[in-house]
């Protein structure tokens, strides 16, 4: 094995990228778009939820609770007519009606006051926002009035005290984008080389199969680091993501994932009998990655019998360790297991890709 030849393959990949603007755009712009889109779509909390207050209470407590509802979360309109309001709810004009019956304040003192919330639960995120919003306003009003609960729960955050949704989300989106793009790029480039005959032509020189595979791995790993840097910068400056742990460690994990993706891509394109077949492999990687690797919801939310598949997906480990580094501020001494598994995947795919290539050549 010779370093010069490995580097020749890597350099050639960059030369191609320089001339092929479409490929360059795909490699550079796709992660930016993904990051911005996902960030904007998922990054914010639920806002501007339309609700109607029907307040028939003659006392002061109901209006105090209404005052304590968060005006950013809710867009509030008031009505005197419950029936008309229910019609609006049924017609999808608002998400909830909060109804304070007559004598609400008086009943509080008698211990039998009721707030009725009519809810459109067709969107669970919004429904949960409304429930917790109403509870929050109620608790606040009670404490302002000097009422004490017999039991209080105190929460203290060991990790992620200041964490926003986007902090948790960034590791997922970065892993998803880098893994998919590097897999797809390597499938495409390898199929291109095979179809053009350049792969075979290069193998008629002293170049060895493992040198090609390593050269590609190196080049796309570097591209992965560039993609990861851009996405993280967008996360940090665009969405105020804070990296609590070491940014170097975070970059290392992402580039490792990129290399795993490239190696998987090479393996897939070597296994495929045709271009069409290799392209068919892509959704087989994309869909499970999207659903099972803990990017959008935790692995704990996946049915038990599906979880083994989660642990077969390299991004699962990247997302997990990246989150620990970014939010918990963990160092290598705590995330080394995830990193070891990623390295294991990388070596496994690399070896299988080389073996497959040699077998193919000897047909």
């Amino acid at each position: 094995m010779k370093l010069e030849r490995i580097l020749a393959v890597s350099k050639k990949t960059f030369w191609e990228l320089r001339h092929d603007k479409k490929l360059l755009a795909y490699a550079i712009i796709t992660p930016i778009i993904l990051m911005v889109l996902f960030g904007l779509a998922f990054g914010g909390q639920v806002q501007d939820v339309k609700i109607i207050i029907v307040n028939e209470d003659s006392g002061h407590l109901a209006s105090e609770i209404v005052k304590n509802l968060d005006r950013g979360t809710f867009t509030i309109s008031e009505s005197q007519n419950l029936e008309a309001s229910l019609d609006r709810l049924r017609n999808g004009k608002c998400w909830a009606i909060i109804y304070f019956p007559e004598n609400f304040t008086k009943n509080v003192l008698l211990g039998k006051a009721v707030i009725k919330v009519y809810l459109d639960r067709s969107n669970l995120n919004i429904a949960e926002t409304i429930v917790s919003g109403v509870n929050g306003a109620l608790m606040k009003t009670l404490s302002e009035n000097g009422a004490k609960l017999p039991i209080n729960v105190e929460y203290s955050a060991v990790y992620g005290k200041e964490a926003k949704f986007m902090d948790m989300f960034l590791p997922g989106v970065v892993s998803l984008a880098v893994f998919l793009i590097s897999t797809i790029l390597s499938v495409l480039s390898f199929i291109g080389e095979r179809n053009m005959g350049t792969l075979e032509r290069a193998l008629a020189t002293p170049l060895r199969e493992e040198e090609i595979v390593l050269g590609y791995s190196l080049a796309f790993g570097l591209i992965g680091v560039i993609q990861a840097s851009m996405m993280m910068l967008i996360g940090i400056f665009g969405f105020n993501v804070e990296i609590t742990g070491s940014p170097v460690l975070a970059f290392f994990i992402v580039s490792l994932l990129a290399v795993v993706g490239v190696n998987l891509g090479m393996l897939l394109s070597n296994m495929a009998k045709s271009e069409a077949q290799a392209v068919q492999f892509v959704p087989m990687v994309v869909v499970p990655t999207f659903l099972l690797s803990g990017i959008f919801w935790p692995v704990e939310a996946i049915p038990k019998y599906l979880r083994p598949f989660s642990y077969l997906l390299p991004p699962t480990y990247a997302v997990d360790s990246l989150r620990s580094v970014i939010i918990r501020g963990w160092g290598i001494e705590k995330v080394w297991r995830d990193i070891a598994v990623l390295i294991g995947f990388g070596v496994l795919f690399l070896t299988l890709a080389i073996i497959n290539m040699e077998k193919r050549g000897s047909k």
């Binding site: 010069e4 030369w15 350049t198 020189t205 047909k363």
Partner: protein, 244 residues
């Protein structure tokens, strides 16, 4: 043994039921221009790819410059021009050459010198910064040849190198091949042009995976009482493709 650049012994290669090369043997002397002729589907390209180790033969042996194949090191002394284009279409002429120079382990200055010489020979000096996909078919073939010649190989293996090349350039290619052979470079070449076959020192005519004749072209014409080489080939071979 020392005088043979290529030794092929009982080479056999099949794809499933189809026997592409059926136990052929021949030797190519150092400095010789050896032509491989025969209709399409006769097994010429399979023979060449098996010699280079790009295909694994079912049985038989190949020696290049005394080394038993497959051997990656000896490929450093072999130049190969495949039938298909096999160039990086998104790269410039110069970058394609540079890539192969790296693979053959060429130091920088030697590459610069050799590059100039080779680009001048193939007439592409002005086009060295052009992207391959923007060049004409003939120019692309010339780049492909340049990639094969760049590292001054001792053995040249050329699979239909002059397809799509105009007569002037074809003539200059052959002049160069002869010069190389006089300097001791061994050339194994396949062609469908009879005038090119006449310029070979010896030719082997293949048909249905076997060598049906092997000798000097003039001798072959005499032996088969033929007016020209085309007649020899027509007499000795069967074309699968023409039969349909």
């Amino acid at each position: 043994m020392d005088n043979w650049a290529l030794i092929i012994k009982n080479l056999r290669k099949s794809y499933g039921d189809l026997i592409a090369v059926n136990g052929i043997s021949f030797k190519v002397e150092k400095g010789e221009i050896f032509g491989l002729l025969g209709p399409n589907g006769a097994g010429k390209t399979t023979t060449i790819k098996s010699i280079l180790g790009l295909l694994k033969p079912d049985s038989g042996e190949v020696h290049i410059l005394g080394r038993k194949m497959p051997d990656k090191e000896v490929l450093g002394k072999v130049g190969y021009m495949p039938q298909e284009l096999a160039l990086y279409l998104n790269l410039t002429v110069e970058e394609n050459l540079r890539f192969y120079a790296h693979l053959y382990g060429f130091p920088g200055e030697r590459f610069e010198d050799k590059k100039k010489e080779i680009l001048k020979f193939v007439g592409l000096k002005k086009f060295k910064n052009r992207i391959i996909s923007e060049l004409s078919g003939g120019m692309q073939r010339r780049v492909s040849l340049a990639c094969a010649l760049l590292h001054e190989p001792e053995v040249l293996i050329l699979d239909e190198p002059t397809v799509g090349v105009d007569p002037h350039l074809r003539a200059s290619f052959w002049k160069h091949f002869r010069e190389l052979s006089e300097r001791g470079v061994t050339i194994l070449i396949t062609t469908h042009y009879m005038d090119e076959a006449m310029k070979c020192d010896r030719i082997a005519i293949m048909s249905e995976g076997q060598i049906v004749a092997l000798s000097n072209p003039i001798v072959l014409m005499e032996e088969t009482h033929s007016e020209n080489l085309e007649e020899v080939v027509l007499k000795l071979t069967i074309s699968k493709e023409a039969e349909g």
